[in-house]
Chain length 121, copies 2
DNA sequence: TCGAAGCATAGACGCTCATCGATGTTTCGT
DNA sequence: ACGAAACATCGATGAGCGTCTATGCTTCGA
């Protein structure tokens, strides 16, 4: 499955006026919304995938190929490719193939979208 | 295990000046930091637990007992108690027992702390 | 043209986790 | 004192996931 979930818009974020939510009794998250958000969080809820995202963002040019990421993580190449696919399918990364190399880049605003969604829960 | 992980401080958040990170080549997340953040995200990366957090926050008084949450979720009481323990151990909820009832409350700023950490990845 | 390099995919294995039924513990009425 | 109610804990089970080895596909250089 290669469905892209991001970007998502924080639709029900107009709850907090000052620094606190005045009426705490807004409506709870919908079951479908909870399922979608949990899918996004599951993709990030792994130590190696978090390090992958961070290493790609910290790499020069904001992109990195698989060969750059395998050795510092101590994982095999298929495992790294698997994690990169999970992150790409969730919408956090994009893949650009140049020659024999596959360069992965962080999607701008992807992490911020999830962070914004977290406050709407 | 009942170790409380939250609250966490976003120590390396002084990266973005305007709306974009000027040097994208900051240092990547540490392995221990990735492990801790993944633990926090794992606790939230479940549809029922997201709905629990949302339902507790939306409930009157900002608190709810187990009996309030079992029926709308369609889960058994032991399963709901299990999820509430996971969320409490992660630092998202607090437990206050009054009589035979156990009232759960959302920890203020817990979700915002994780959201802030997400942008530091 | 052919071998090598980079990467993706397939299949398998072991572990974690979500959920359940059963049971123990505590507290409140009667 | 005793039964009932609310909740936590325990043990089991089935599904999902992270990781590996093996293999296939694509691209480049000799």
């Amino acid at each position: 499955m290669t469905t892209v979930l991001l970007p998502l818009t924080a639709t029900s974020a107009a709850c907090c006026i000052g620094d606190t939510c005045a009426p705490l009794t807004r409506e709870p998250i919908t079951p479908a919304g909870a399922r979608d958000l949990s899918t996004l969080l599951k993709a990030l809820a792994d130590p190696m995938r978090l390090r992958l995202v961070s290493m790609i963002a910290a790499h020069e040019g904001g992109e990195a190929c698989v060969c750059d990421l395998t050795e510092p993580l101590g994982l095999t190449q298929p495992t790294v490719s698997h994690h990169l696919k999970v992150l790409t399918d969730a919408g956090y990364l994009t893949r650009a193939k140049r020659g024999t190399w596959a360069y992965y880049t962080l999607v701008p605003g992807a992490l911020d979208s999830v962070a914004a969604l977290l406050r709407t829960v």
